[in-house]
Symmetry: C2
Subunit: 301 residues, 2 copies
């Protein structure tokens, strides 16, 4: 839960509401009521918490430290918006954050561990029922600085989300097919490779699923896209209480659609404009986008 | 039709058979007998021409200049094999090349204009029946140095193939969805964006189709992938004499599969190992890779 200052070729915003938990919760809330864990300072807008509550989110796991400042991130995106430079990362109230899950949260069936120190992710896992299906995210910083703790997270997670640069770094190979196999060997049953505008790929021992992103002429800010993707995914899994591979494929399509809405606005503007009708329209359009017919091989040869 | 010296992280080859016409013809020959137009020098291996003939290619449009040298290209690929540096381009016999189509070629129903000066592409178009369905390729050099001739090619082609960097340059925008619309406004009915390992996208006024590349652990040399892709596409179109959007979607899947075989070896080694059984296996696997189920929206809401 953060305040972000972001500049892209299409505009700039200063200290707007952001953060992985916020993006993921707003995205998921179209599908299932999320339980949010996080910490904010006195500077975090109450209106953002009210928005989450209005969308059905349980906020008993959100701590407010009135005399603290919220996590702050500032970054600037390049012309193609595929790369970004971080200008500032101020942990503020996150520096001392040790999440305690409210009792009702502990029986959650699905959990998204957003990017944070792997030790904090482990502390959350320790408080969850073992039957929980766990999606986890991470970043290059922890791959470099906390490999042991991260390895423990990977061994305990069911599905790990990595962007293409991260998985190449973690698996030490440029070939994404090889990299995915190596990460599966680290423990998780599933790996999802997030490739930004080039889509995403789900890999497990017996499965390979890959779809493009939802094409849009009006992408203005990629911030939060990966967390909105995870939120859309887990929202569908939780809604149907189904983590079969069949449902995971559909969950990735939901993640693709929620991420597409996210990038159409700064902060939560894009996600807030996404309603169920538009979600359904984009899901069906995405299915059509990847469809090609079977061949009649008998007639072919 | 060229001799190439190529270095990748997986090996190096010196003056091996290559060139867009060769890659495209070998790829297409699995599906339909191609008619080849090109020029070679005395140094071009007869065995490569024999291979093409054995696969059913018509070589009456191939000129050999015994005391000339074949077109020569030399390049080196980076660690991720997504970028490459050209070390040498010697036009040699191509410097004076003015293609004359054998009479039998002029009624061809499908034509792939591989990357060459747009003026040469126009000279081929002038010799073809107007009903021919024309795929054309180009490169950054002609976008920069021959914009007027290239504009004429685009206005007369039915489908233009561009990689992501080329279409961004041609359309002067980083957004691929916007770029595709702008290129359609230049004349062609279809645009295909080649995104290398990230797959390909077909765009027309009313269609958007996008699939990933075929994932492989053993990619060794990307040279010729784009031309093998075009060869696989046009091979299917010609085989069924069908250029409907429905068939174009399948043709892109065939192109994806033929390109995947190409990159598994240097020169023609990968393409030569691809047989009909493996082509069919990969096509069916690719269909499964992009499949996700429809939602029952009645039950969903």
């Amino acid at each position: 839960m953060a305040l972000d200052s972001v500049r892209t070729p299409f505009g700039a915003v200063d200290r707007v509401v952001g953060g992985a938990a916020v993006y993921a919760a707003v995205a998921a809330s179209l599908l299932a009521p999320p339980r949010v864990v996080g910490v904010v300072g006195g500077d975090f807008p109450q209106s953002a918490l009210d928005l989450l509550a209005a969308r059905g989110a349980d906020l008993t796991g959100v701590e407010r430290i009135p005399d603290g400042k919220s996590f702050y991130w500032s970054g600037v995106y390049d012309y193609e918006m595929s790369g970004r430079e971080t200008l500032a990362t101020d942990l503020n109230v996150f520096a001392q954050f040790r999440p305690t899950l409210p009792t009702a949260y502990r029986a959650s069936r699905y959990c998204f561990l957003a990017n944070i120190q792997p030790q904090v992710q482990l502390a959350v896992l320790d408080q969850l029922d073992e039957t929980c299906f766990v999606l986890c995210d991470t970043m290059n910083l922890w791959i470099e600085t906390e490999p042991d703790a991260l390895a423990e997270v990977l061994a305990r997670a069911d599905l790990v989300l990595l962007n293409d640069a991260e998985i190449r770094q973690l698996a030490d190979t440029p070939n994404l097919a090889v990299a995915a196999r190596r990460v599966l060997d680290m423990g998780p049953q599933y790996v999802v490779i997030k490739k930004g505008e080039y889509g995403s790929t789900l890999v497990s021992a017996g499965e390979y699923f890959s779809i493009p992103s939802y094409p849009l002429p009006d992408v203005v800010d990629p911030t939060g896209a990966g967390d909105s993707f995870a939120g859309g995914m887990i929202g569908l899994l939780a809604r149907h209480d189904d983590c079969s591979t069949r449902e995971l494929r559909r969950a990735i399509a939901f993640g693709t659609v929620t991420a597409s809405a996210c990038v159409q606005g700064f902060s939560l503007d894009g996600l807030r404009r996404l309603d169920t009708a538009e979600l359904q329209r984009r899901y069906d359009a995405l299915r059509d986008m990847v469809h090609f017919e079977a061949m009649d091989w008998e007639a072919f040869t």
